[in-house]
Subunit: 150 residues, 2 copies
């Protein structure tokens, strides 16, 4: 996360750019604004989810499973790959969601190592309940004027 309020001034960046060829001041400024803006949005999304007993990752786990055309569920390793997070996080997240009654996890009939993770009816309902607010929050955020740049 990157929340630095006052980004380096264009002047500072240009001083560096002059010293290190290959670095372009405008590009770096763009990157820092990207980081700050995304971090602020992530913070708002985290607040939204935690107010509803979820988190970014828990929500996205529900999303990728729901998105799956196969009704048989996903493997944890597939979820880790789709979400680009580590497998231990999937283990923990799936455990929490299963305990909350939003997921089921049954042994894979074809592979003794694997488990098939699927949404329960309640999981589908929770996801459907959260999506409108999720999109609304994002749309509202994006509509807000950018902060004035130094």
């Amino acid at each position: 996360m990157f929340f630095l309020k006052e980004l380096p001034t264009r002047r500072m960046l240009e001083t560096y750019a002059a010293r290190y060829p290959g670095m372009e001041a405008g590009t770096v400024g763009d990157a820092l604004r990207l980081l700050r803006r995304a971090s602020l949005l992530l913070r708002e999304l985290d607040a939204y989810f935690s107010a509803h007993g979820l988190s970014q990752s828990r929500f996205l786990v529900l999303v990728v499973i729901d998105r799956e055309p196969e009704a048989t569920g996903l493997l944890a390793s597939v979820i880790a790959d789709r979400l680009d997070i580590s497998r231990p996080v999937v283990t923990e997240t799936v455990k929490a969601l299963t305990q909350a009654g939003l997921l089921t996890s049954v042994p894979d009939p074809d592979d003794g190592r694997a488990r098939r993770i699927a949404l329960t009816t309640r999981g589908q309902a929770v996801l459907a309940d959260r999506l409108p607010g999720y999109f609304a929050l994002i749309a509202e955020f994006m509509g807000r004027a950018d902060e004035p740049t130094a």
Copy 2:
């Protein structure tokens, strides 16, 4: 952090947009790309810093102190405000940087509660050593082509 590899398709977003007036599919798609792109950059920056015994926050603490024209140092609460992070994180970060010899923290002569936090010579040197790689990493990242969008 938000690393979802396959973002929702335009079609999916449009389905939602049709259902929830006020939500515009293109805008939400932009936001999700913003989140993913920033998360990837944050991950690379974290790796860069941790390879050098730092972290985003530690680095930024050095930056904001260095940037300060006053030579007397900053208060922890000011650092927390500039970086937009909680005060306990500043307490912990400053402690680590002080133990590493990059910062000094001396009682404020005018306020018995406060401490003035300043860079040591070594802290300045470490910051100067990291800045070029930091900017280079960012510039290189921004130069990379965006991932193909679904």
